[in-house]
Symmetry: C2
Subunit: 210 residues, 2 copies
Amino acid sequence: MSDDEIMEAVDQALREHGYAELTMQDIADESEKSKSLLHYHYDTKEDLLVAFLDDLLSDYEQRMACRDGRPPTERLVEFVARFVFTPEDSGREQFHLALLEMRSQGPFNDRIREQLERSDEILRSTAAEIITEGIDSGVFEEVDPERTAALLVATLDGARTRQITLGEANETYTRTVVEQALTQIVGPILEEGVELPDLDAVLADLDRDE
Amino acid sequence: MSDDEIMEAVDQALREHGYAELTMQDIADESEKSKSLLHYHYDTKEDLLVAFLDDLLSDYEQRMACRDGRPPTERLVEFVARFVFTPEDSGREQFHLALLEMRSQGPFNDRIREQLERSDEILRSTAAEIITEGIDSGVFEEVDPERTAALLVATLDGARTRQITLGEANETYTRTVVEQALTQIVGPILEEGVELPDLDAVLADLDRDE
C-alpha cells in the first residue's frame, strides 16, 4: 500500500467521521487494506494523523514552490483565493472541520502542535516572501512583510473557521472576507497604477486539491 | 443557587476540562451544589452549555451597549483590543480553547450553532454600528460598514484561534494582528487629521471579564 493511498483514506475518513471519534478501523474501511496492515505502518492513530498533517503541509509547500516564478500580484491573489469555499465545497468544509477539532488539541499534544506550528510558519513565510518580492519589484509599497503576512493569515483563517462552524447560514463568509482583504488590506499597499488580477479568474484556475 | 453561580462554575469547569470531556459532575465540583441540583435546573449538559453561551453573549451585548456614548474611534479600538491576549491571560486562553472545541460541533448541533450565529451577528453588528457612526460623524471614510465589520471580525477571530492553538510559541499573535489591523485596516479609513487612541491605554482601561 503506497503512502498516497493511506493518506487518501485518512482524508476521506476525517471528512466522514471528524477527528475526535475517528478510529483506525474507519481509516481501514476507506482503503482496500486491513486495520492490522495500517498498524504495521503506524503504531497509533496519532502517528498516522501526524504523518497525514506532515504530508498535507509538504504538498502545500511543493505546490507553492512550483508557482513562484509568476508575478507577486498574481501569487498573492492566488494565496488568498485558496481559502475561499464555494457553496459546492462541502467536502472541503468537512475536512477543515476535522482539522479544527485537531487544532483544539494543539495545546495538549506536542506532536500535533509541532505540525500546527509548521503550518503557521509555512503560511506566513509564503505570504511574507510574496510581499517582499512585490516590494522589491516595485508593485507593493514598503510595508512590513512579516506583520502584513500575519494579518492576512489570521484574516483568512478566521473567515474559514467562521464559515465552517456557522454552516450554511454563512456559506459566503470566506468569499466576502477574501474580497474585503484584497480591497482593504492589499489594495492600500499597491503602488500607483498596479492592478490585481480578477479573483474569479484566479479561482477558476486554481488547483485546490488539499 | 443563582444563575450567576452556576455560570461561574461552568466557566471554571470549561477552563479546567475543556468541552469534549466535560461532565455535569465536573461542573458541580466547581460549585457548592450537587450534580442532582444542577440536573434539576438543566436536563442535560447541552442545556447547561447552551444557557452558558446565551448568558455570555447577553453579558457582551450589555457591556457594549453601556459604552456606546463614546467616540467611534475609541469604541473601535476597544472593540479590537478585547481580542488581545497578554502572556498573563492563560485562563482566558483555556476558556477560548474550550469554546473552539464547542465551535467545531456547530455543524452537528443546532442549538450550539444558533448561539454561534447569534455571537457572529452581535460581533459583526457591533463593529458595523461603530463604523457607521464614525462615517456619519466624519471620522471614517465611506467604506461598506457590514463588509468592513466582517473583515475585522474574521481577522480578530483568526488571530485568537492561532494564538490559543499554537500555544506559547505564539503568545503575541493577537497583539501583533490587532496592531496590524489598526494600522492596515482601520488606518486607511480614517479621515485626514483623525487619530486613534493608543492601544496600550485602551488595554489598560479594559474590563475584560468574559
